[in-house]
């Protein structure tokens, strides 16, 4: 049972305070918390669940805003954290982003939202579709409308019909002029490659994202050509689990708009689409560095948005790096980022240069880890294929679309 939620800015200022129970939590707790952050350094380094002299604190940091919740009783920690994450998601969805100014400008909406999301410390609903029906988001359309009609209320006067329906994530009697549904496979490849170039670990975390603009109560079924590759799956509450267990078919009545239908994990992939080969050779106070990037296993589509990032060890005093393709940027905190962009067809990108070590240091003995990002449009690297998407009760023939995309997630190359 949460007692209070605070929103703090990145300078520790209280942006918003929402007391949830009759038992008030004094604001001084924020000072205590902020002191902890100052003494521990970065707020990201502070454990998400901490214990203050009077309360248990849960914190989630998003875009510089700290969502801090207090409780005095034993409760499932994941419930608190998960709830705070949802609050953050809903707010950024409503406000179209998340920062100090947005929250200050729209604090009334934030209060309204929190009011509907949690009562007396127990989470009620965090489903964006339902909240949208109760509290209109502050978008331009409603602003224009309010000017035209003179009705400035941003609250719909009717209660969400869905609260009474058997499909709580969907409004009743929806109407769309164009009936369309899009399915995106978005995959992230997490891989660790050790200094010998061997794959230590490689797996895919993927999501099936659906954007549905369908009228009425559509009943969809989505099936995959190769569902056996999944190692584990998690579903949106709208998915009926029985058909999945029997035939690996996703059967569901979708919420309106964009939502995450399922997420999955595919383990034990054998290779990565690209390789990154760093090399260091030290000699009397300087170190030659060379990094090669190339295609290892051609995915069939072009690879773009390639960046290679690493942090120079603290013992490096200066560096001189030059790439044969793309641009290298060295920041003050010694983070080097090499932006390659689209993989060129005719040559393999490489970067080389020298690092000057601290005086008295002969050779480099700590080596950086390279963080690699990339994007491949049109391919799901796990090999997952959508078989078909059917509509059971269509009013009119809808437009269907499919896309796939793979990104580098935690793609790390050690040296």
């Amino acid at each position: 049972m949460l007692q209070c939620i605070f929103l703090l800015s990145d300078s520790g200022e209280v942006l918003l305070e929402k007391q949830l129970t009759g038992h008030r939590v004094d604001r001084a707790i924020c000072d205590w918390f902020w002191n902890q952050i100052l003494t521990q350094g970065d707020s990201l380094k502070l454990v998400p669940v901490i214990s203050s002299p009077t309360h248990y604190l849960f914190q989630v940091v998003r875009e510089g805003i700290t969502f801090l919740a207090c409780s005095q009783v034993e409760m499932p920690p994941l419930m608190a954290i998960e709830f705070l994450c949802r609050v953050a998601d809903v707010l950024s969805n409503y406000l179209d982003g998340l920062n100090e100014d947005l929250i200050k400008d729209n604090f009334v909406i934030v209060y309204e939202l929190l009011d509907e999301m949690i009562d007396n410390g127990f989470p009620l609903t965090t489903e964006p579709n339902i909240l949208r029906e109760m509290i209109a988001p502050p978008n331009i359309v409603s602003k224009v409308l309010s000017v035209v009609t003179g009705n400035t209320s941003n609250v719909s006067n009717t209660l969400p019909g869905a609260t009474a329906s058997c499909v709580p994530w969907r409004k009743t009697d929806l109407k769309h002029a164009t009936n369309e549904v899009y399915v995106d496979l978005v995959e992230e490849m997490d891989a660790t490659i050790n200094r010998d170039g061997n794959l230590v670990k490689c797996e895919i975390y993927g999501e099936v994202q659906v954007n549905s603009n369908l009228s009425g109560l559509p009943d969809l079924t989505l099936s995959f050509a190769n569902p056996s590759i999944f190692n584990d799956v998690r579903f949106h509450p709208c998915v009926r689990l029985r058909p999945w267990e029997l035939n690996q078919i996703l059967s569901f009545v979708p919420p309106d708009g964009q939502f995450k239908l399922m997420s999955y994990r595919v383990k034990k992939l054998k290779s990565t689409p690209i390789y990154v080969k760093p090399q260091f050779t030290s000699d009397s106070g300087t170190c030659r560095i060379s990094v090669l990037v190339g295609i290892r296993n051609d995915p069939g589509k072009s690879i773009d948005n390639i960046t290679v990032e690493f942090r120079l060890p603290p013992c490096v005093t200066s560096s001189d790096l030059s790439p044969n393709y793309g641009a290298v940027n060295v920041l003050a905190d010694k983070t080097c980022s090499w932006t390659i962009g689209r993989m060129p067809k005719d040559k393999a990108p490489s970067m080389s240069g020298t690092l000057v070590l601290e005086t008295g240091m002969e050779r480099l003995h700590v080596f950086p880890t390279f963080q690699v990002a990339f994007r491949i449009m049109g391919v799901a690297l796990s090999g997952l294929k959508i078989d078909k998407l059917d509509l059971k009760n269509p009013l009119s023939r809808p437009h269907k679309g499919f896309r796939a995309l793979t990104r580098g997630g935690e793609f790390q190359v050690r040296s």
Partner: protein, 840 residues
């Protein structure tokens, strides 16, 4: 949306400039109050927003209360919401003004728009003014019967709010039975869930005083009710599912068939997108199968994949919470996760707290088949730029070495670390090599060769230095240069700041002398000379001890300083298995994150209910009004048992239990292993290399009472004053001032636990033994009592905090006494009295 008021940006809450603006607002609001001109609502809205933004940044705007209420007559719902928010914030401190709001809130409760009815009811219940509760009963009653589920949902929670304000009003209005009816009948799942949460809280708080409530609480866990919830599971929102699952986890099924039915029904919850639901389901599975070993193992297999997905899919904060639970499971059943070790590999950009958990898991899952790969991975981290991480990794390698039979490869790796020539790596490795040698003396040859090459100048950390010196002394005959290195160290005696290192140096020199006398003689002379003039008491004493021993008889000295050592087979585990079981019982709770059972930190939990009752004028002892207690220094001034984070807590315990036993070896397996080794050398006369917990020994020795035995078997010499009395405030003050003289954990007879069904009986029982109850509180399964007793002659008073956990049959005692020496005797008296509870 209107542009934000400029005053939003005023950064400091204490900024005085707010004042003038507040009075401006006041006049503006007053002008608007009666106006019905078109566009008034827009102006009001801007003003309200200003007021609330002041409130948000902490400026006191309670002075405009009456104006706000006057302006609240509006049909604009946003205005209403802002007004509710404002009123909810200030009503508690202005009960008189709050009366003004009752009228319009009650009117809104009858509005035709269900949204407004709901909002008004919610605000009405949140006012938190105790003397206005009478106005709540009517609207709440109507709300529970409202045709709209939104209003019923708000009303269900409102009943709980009312209960916390005034329990008697709530019970007199017969709300709990109404809620129960609603819970079992309502069509809307959210209403049902809210009824459940309210009823759970009300009945468990009432259970201590009313048998009926206790019975009702039991019926919540009865088969029909639990099945009713299970059958409606899919209708509930994800959060309500968590609450229901928590309830189900407490249900005890009749037979295995029932268990399988429930698990089959809930299996699909493991696929839920909400991690909290998944974890709550896992808790149900684990608890239900505890008695069925085979199935329990299958459950582990089944929940592995969902847990691992949760870890890799969420934000770092979510991962952390899941990892803490995974950590617990891995520690319980490492072999099940041993094939998934790659999931515990660390990413270099993960926060340290995540990496640390992962390292512990890697250590736990290491077995014959994967050790090589895990250690290879760990070695990668050792070369890491991140120094704390490198240290932890080395420790992990060491731990794996200590738990595996095939240490050959690992020893090689460790020795390679020493050649990396990084100070922190060398230091950490030396400590480990020392521990390794204590367990596997057969490796001494390889290790010594490498250790001998390390220049003592490159080792600065006391712990590492101590480890190096220990090895120099222990393996003096194998290390060529040992006497000369030691001699060099002795020469720098004065520059050595750490007493620990100097102690080790003394012992090492003596050991070396006993083996290679001619070469060490000079070093020994210098060391003893420096030792006896040392300002540190321990060093001084030990130097004298050695000096006299050597003077008395060298062979005796040999036997004492250098006895044949047995290899240490098991290093004491820091956490007992019983403790781990306890944490496991509290799966999906904070205990798991803090890695300790809740009784060790949930003093806050007691404050919660206590603080609520405070407002009712009840007695509350040992609790702080929570807002006042925020100031950290105040808490420090408070006695140390009042919670705090991990480390402080442990220190507090250690301090409290050791009492004045100054020389007792402070044993803490990982951190002071070096130091305690030194102590064992000393005590090894009669107990070669046994590790014993110092607590009880130290105290017993002081009292000369011998081993603690069954409480009743020791004839009690302590007589208590039957008419002792103390008033609550004096008790509270005394409790704060005195240090804990004894802190104990024992178990209670199951019959006594049965007696705890009626906790009021315990104070009566104890009174019969001249021990008076000052305050009591808590709810099943945990009860907390404060007792007071006085010695027959009135010379010494005893204050006791007693926490009884009726589910685990455990009792925790903290005793504070005027005369420290008699606290043990009193504790026995107390326990014997307690043990008779329920049996009489």
């Amino acid at each position: 949306m209107a542009p934000p008021a400029q005053s939003h940006r005023s950064p400091s809450p204490s900024q005085p400039s707010g004042k003038g603006e507040v009075s401006d607002l006041k006049t503006q609001l007053r002008q608007l109050a009666g106006s019905r001109a078109p566009g008034t609502d827009d102006t009001k809205r801007d003003l309200f927003k200003k007021v609330i933004s002041y409130m948000t940044i902490g400026i006191d705007v309670s002075s405009v209360f009456s104006e706000m209420v006057m302006c609240s007559a509006t049909s604009d719902i946003v205005l209403k919401k802002m007004c509710y928010l404002y009123v909810g914030n200030y009503a508690k401190h202005n009960p008189d003004l709050a009366l003004l709001t009752i009228n319009f809130l009650q009117r809104d409760c009858k509005d035709e728009d269900p949204m407004i009815r709901g909002l008004a009811l919610r605000s009405l219940c949140s006012l938190g003014v105790a003397n206005l509760v009478e106005y709540l009963v009517g609207p709440l009653g109507n709300g529970l019967k409202d045709g709209n589920s939104y209003v019923r949902m708000v009303a269900a929670v409102g009943v709980l709010k009312l209960y916390h304000l005034s329990a008697s009003t709530c019970l007199d209005a017969d709300f709990p039975p109404l809620l129960k009816q609603l819970m079992l009948k309502d069509k809307d799942a959210q209403v049902v869930a809210n009824c459940l949460t309210s009823l759970q809280e009300i009945w468990s708080l009432e259970a201590s005083t009313s048998e009926e409530a206790a019975r009702e609480r039991e019926t919540l866990l009865s088969k029909p009710v639990v099945y009713y919830f299970l059958n409606r599971m899919k209708e509930f929102s994800e959060w309500a599912q968590c609450i229901v699952l928590e309830l189900v986890s407490k249900y005890v099924p009749m037979d295995t068939e029932e268990i399988f039915d429930i698990m089959n029904l809930l299996e699909d919850r493991l696929h839920h997108a909400n991690g909290a639901v998944v974890l709550a389901t896992i808790k149900v599975f684990l608890h239900m199968t505890l008695s069925m070993t085979d199935v329990h193992q299958q459950v582990y297999e089944r929940i592995k994949a969902p847990l691992l997905t949760l870890v890799s899919s969420g934000s770092p904060e979510q991962s952390y919470a899941v990892l803490s639970h995974l950590h617990l499971l891995v520690m319980r059943a490492p072999y099940i996760f041993s094939s998934d070790y790659k999931h515990f590999y660390c990413q270099y950009n993960e926060p340290f707290y995540v990496k640390k958990l992962k390292l512990e898991m890697l250590t736990a899952v290491a077995n014959e088949s994967n050790t090589y790969e895990i250690v290879t991975e760990l070695c990668e981290y050792v070369a890491n730029v991140d120094i704390p991480m490198a240290r932890e990794s080395i420790r992990a390698v060491g731990k794996i070495a200590l738990q595996q039979y095939d240490v050959n490869a690992i020893v090689d790796r460790l020795l390679q670390f020493l050649e990396m020539e990084k100070e922190h790596v060398t230091a950490e490795t030396l400590v480990l090599v020392k521990d390794l040698l204590r367990k596997y003396p057969q490796w001494s040859h390889d290790c010594i060769a490498v250790v001998g090459n390390i220049s003592s100048k490159n080792v600065q950390e006391p712990k590492a230095k101590a480890a190096l010196i220990w090895m120099l002394g222990e393996y003096a005959q194998d290390m060529q240069d040992s006497p000369y290195i030691l001699e060099g160290l002795v020469e720098n005696w004065d520059e050595e700041d750490s007493a620990e290192v100097r102690l080790h140096l003394l012992t090492a020199v003596v050991k070396c002398f006993l083996r290679r006398a001619p070469e060490t003689q000079k070093a020994l002379g210098d060391a003893l000379a420096a030792g006896v003039t040392d300002f540190h008491q321990d060093v001084h004493d030990r130097a004298f001890l050695y000096y006299r021993l050597l003077k008395y008889d060298v062979s005796v000295a040999e036997r004492i300083v250098n006895p044949p050592k047995q290899a240490v087979s098991v290093f004491a585990d820091t956490q007992s298995s019983e403790m781990k079981d306890r944490i496991f019982d509290e799966f999906n709770s904070l205990s798991v994150v803090y890695q300790k059972p809740s009784y060790m930190f949930t003093d806050k939990e007691h404050r919660g209910p206590f603080a609520f009752s405070e407002e009712l004028g009840n007695l509350s002892i040992g609790t702080e009004p929570s807002d006042a207690a925020v100031a950290a220094q105040r808490v420090e001034a408070n006695d140390k048992d009042l919670l705090l984070g991990t480390s402080e807590k442990e220190e507090g315990h250690g301090y409290g239990s050791n009492g004045s036993a100054y020389s007792a070896p402070s044993y803490n397996a990982s951190t002071t292993a070096g130091a305690s080794q030194a102590h064992f050398d000393l005590v090894s006369i009669d107990q070669p290399s046994t590790v014993h917990p110092p607590v009880s020994f130290a105290i017993d020795d002081l009292l000369g009472l011998g081993m603690p035995s069954a409480p009743s078997s020791v004839p009690s010499t302590l007589q208590l004053n039957a008419k002792a009395s103390i008033d609550a405030n004096a008790f509270q003050q005394k409790w704060r001032q005195q240090p804990i003289s004894l802190s104990q954990e024992t178990s209670i007879d199951p019959r006594g636990v049965a007696g705890m069904m009626n906790p009021q009986a315990l104070p009566q029982h104890m009174q019969g033994h001249s021990i008076n109850c000052i305050a009591s509180g808590g709810q099943a399964p945990k009860f907390k009592f404060f007792f007071f007793a006085q010695k027959e002659d009135g010379s010494s008073a005893y204050l006791v905090e007693c926490i009884i956990n009726s589910s685990s049959c455990k009792v925790q005692l903290k005793i504070k006494a005027d005369e420290q020496a008699t606290s043990q005797a009193f504790s026995e008296l107390f326990q014997s009295a307690l043990s008779k509870f329920g049996s009489a």
